[in-house]
């Protein structure tokens, strides 16, 4: 990769940053400073806009570069990820999107507080949401650091650190100044860029093989060095039974975790009605499904065009497969086409990280200000004057969350953090989803059940990861020198998700006070009809 690629990629990325900063300034020029405006963008986005924004929030650089790279290296096993990421949206569409839109105002905890005692459930759900967000944020920001090292030749630890700080600072500016409105427009711009880049690359791959998928797959299998095995599962997860169970655990976390991700839930509040929330999810399922289908073509395309070995030489986890493919499809290294296409892909990947990071920061600042701060610091009596103060707290929280994430990402930048995304999904599926489903569907669910459910999913998920081989007891662990490993799996989902559901049930059964029938009636009527919805 020569200097031309780098400077062009940097110019394109700077254009993206300039455009998004322009959007932020434009939309925040006459801001009201109300909570409705800051957390939910005034609730006036159209389903189409919100659908693109949801897709933008969800499709991270890990999907774009990581999944295609996994397919290029391991063939079919990479595809298993994309299926989990997509099928998860049916849980969101059927059980969560419309009901959450009707019941809540800004966060997950709002839905619970509608029928439970407010203080304990807000603290529990706020803590779980912040945990999920911070895990996901650190993964994305370390990813930003690695990306700059991958794409800009000669970038050392210094440049990576500056990239992490730069991405963190930019996202704080976006979120603190522009709130949900600016964040949403950034997601939309990013989703359009990402889809455009993926479509262009897919068309080029298919043209190379004259539209013949069969030839593409056969060539990929030949050049992978694995033959037919490349097109069947087993190359990555076909080892021992522990590895297989680990993947089942991850698959469970992926499919159930999406519906508990705070930055996805908060997107449903940006549209005026539940029907609009449904239509935005339908748009995003179309976009996300199309995108993952294209990553499959790109992954097998990279294996067929470049060969798996060439991809592995460049980066052992395959993250450079798509940029290298772009270089080749554009006409090879040194050609104008190759330079331009490589730069476009690199800029899209940077933009992707920036947008995802902004979305998560906003969601976690909402959890901190609206759930945790509001509950811990404020007296029970509500006064009109506090409306402004909550938004101020949220802006400060965005800065604080950004600072914590930058610090953690700098500390973690040399560690293997690939497990963090899976862990964030596992925590979301164990701590957030059970309580949400119980609150929406179970008449007898009580405050105690809610609190037990959140902590009963959150604590085991975190503890099991601390005791897992990703933290200690293996050569690739965070502390390779220590060994306090007790739990064999890298992903805790298969244990912690059932525990979250079980504890919610146990807590409810063990409650001395019965569920409040009137508040359940109000929640249920509101969830299904929208009566009295914000």
């Amino acid at each position: 990769m020569t200097g031309d690629h780098q400077s062009l990629a940097l110019i394109l990325f700077s254009v993206f940053v300039a455009v998004t900063l322009g959007i932020t300034t434009w939309v925040s020029r006459r801001r009201h400073g109300s909570a409705e405006e800051f957390y939910a963008g005034g609730r006036l986005f159209s389903p189409l806009e919100n659908g693109f924004a949801i897709a933008g929030d969800y499709m991270s650089a890990a999907s774009f570069l990581g999944i295609s790279g996994l397919i290029a290296l391991f063939g079919y096993d990479g595809l298993l990820y994309s299926v989990g990421f997509l099928v998860a949206w049916l849980v969101v569409l059927f059980l969560v999107a419309e009901l959450v839109r009707n019941c809540g105002r800004f966060t997950l905890a709002d839905v619970l507080a509608a029928r439970m005692r407010e203080r304990p459930v807000r603290i529990a759900a706020g803590t779980a949401s912040v945990t999920v967000s911070v895990l996901y944020l650190v993964a994305q920001m370390v990813g930003a650091g690695s990306l700059v090292a991958l794409l800009l030749e000669g970038a050392g630890a210094q440049e990576r650190a500056w990239m992490v700080v730069g991405v963190g600072a930019l996202m704080v500016v976006y979120v603190a100044c522009g709130g949900m409105r600016a964040t949403t427009w950034i997601q939309i711009v990013k989703a359009v860029l990402l889809m455009g880049g993926a479509i262009a690359m897919t068309v080029l791959v298919l043209t190379r093989f004259h539209g013949d998928i069969n030839t593409l797959l056969t060539t990929a299998a030949e050049r992978s060095g694995h033959g037919r095995d490349f097109l069947a599962p087993g190359l990555k997860y076909g080892g021992g039974w522990t590895e297989r169970l680990d993947f089942i655990s991850l698959g469970l976390a992926l499919v159930l975790g999406t519906a508990g991700l705070p930055h996805i839930l908060s997107r449903f509040y940006t549209v005026p009605t539940a029907r609009a929330a449904r239509r935005s999810v339908i748009w995003s399922i179309g976009l996300i499904g199309g995108f993952y289908l294209m990553t499959i073509v790109l992954g097998f395309g990279a294996a067929a065009v470049l060969g798996s070995d060439a991809v592995r030489v460049s980066n052992s986890s395959g993250n450079t497969a798509v940029p290298l493919l772009a270089l080749d499809l554009g006409g090879g290294a040194g050609s104008t086409g190759g330079t331009v296409l490589f730069a476009v892909v690199a800029a899209v990947a940077f933009a992707t990280i920036l947008a995802v990071v902004a979305g998560i920061t906003l969601a976690s600042s909402a959890s901190v200000a609206h759930d945790l701060y509001a509950t811990l610091r404020r007296s029970r009596r509500t006064k009109p004057g506090r409306v402004h103060s909550e938004v101020t707290v949220a802006r400060v929280a965005a800065v604080a969350v950004g600072a914590v994430a930058i610090a953690l990402a700098l500390l973690a930048q040399d560690l293997n953090v690939a497990f963090l995304v899976g862990l964030a999904f596992a925590v979301a599926a164990s701590a957030n989803l059970p309580v949400l489903l119980y609150a929406l569907f179970w008449r007898r669910f009580t405050t105690k059940g809610a609190v037990w459910s959140v902590y009963g999913g959150l604590v085991p998920a975190i503890v099991l990861v601390v005791l897992s081989p990703v933290v200690s007891g293996s050569p690739t662990a965070i502390f390779p020198g220590l060994d306090f490993q007790l739990f064999p799996l890298e992903n805790p989902g298969v244990v912690s998700i059932p525990l979250g559901f079980l504890m919610g049930w146990l807590g409810t059964v063990a409650s001395s006070e019965p569920a409040d029938a009137a508040r359940h009636a109000e929640t249920e009527v509101r969830a299904l009809t929208g009566a009295g919805a914000a």
Binding site: S34, A35, E36, E37, Y76, L79, L80, V83, G84, L86, V87, W89, L90, V91, L93, F94, L95, N214, L217, T218, A221, R228, D229, L231, A232, P233, G234, Y237, G238, R244, F247, I248, L252, V255, P272, R275, R278, I282, I285, G286, G289, Y292, L293, T382, K383, P384, V387, A517, A518, R519, A521, E522, E524, V525, L528, T529, G530, A531, G532, A534
Partner: protein, 165 residues
């Protein structure tokens, strides 16, 4: 309902001008410039007297009555009648797919035609069923649920004055 009785008892002199609809119309949910947080006090003060306050006994009674009503039970039955079987279906299908891929890769590697094997068909099948169920859910909600739910929404909000918790 009691709110009308309460009103006529409290303000009998208003007489025919006091059309109960005017309050409901003035308090249409989308026109409300409601406070951006839980400022009930201001809201309740601006609302006309007969509207039950949030978390009051009358407010609760409205929701309990709506929940018991046949119209609401029908909406809930239709919603659950679709999503529960559909959720069980796609979760079982997805788990079967993941377990087959990890536990029985040889079964998945069975050759079908050209470069296509069982695994490819199953993976593509997951995409197709996801798109199909999305379409089916949207259609079911639009045709079987939306209008009935909207009617209940307006009726409930007329009874409660659209107040928020």
């Amino acid at each position: 309902m009691d709110k009308h009785d309460g009103r006529t008892a409290a303000e009998p002199e208003v007489g025919p001008l006091d059309d109960p609809w005017s309050d409901a119309l003035a308090l249409r949910w989308d026109e409300l410039d409601y406070p951006t947080d839980y400022g009930y006090e201001t809201h309740a003060a601006s609302a006309a007297a007969p509207v039950p306050k949030p978390r009051s006994a009358e407010h609760d009674e409205v929701y309990l009555a709506v929940q018991r009503s046949a119209a609401f039970q029908e909406v809930r039955r239709r919603y659950r009648g679709f999503v529960i079987p559909a959720t069980v279906l796609f979760l079982v299908w997805y788990l079967a797919y993941v377990i087959a891929a990890t536990a029985a890769p040889h079964l998945m590697a069975l050759h079908v035609i050209g470069a296509v094997n069982v695994a490819m068909l199953a993976g593509l099948g997951q995409f197709i069923t996801t798109f199909f169920l999305t379409w089916a859910y949207a259609r079911h909600a639009r045709l079987r649920r939306d209008n009935a739910a909207l009617d209940i929404r307006w009726e409930t909000q007329e009874l409660t004055g659209g107040n928020l918790r």
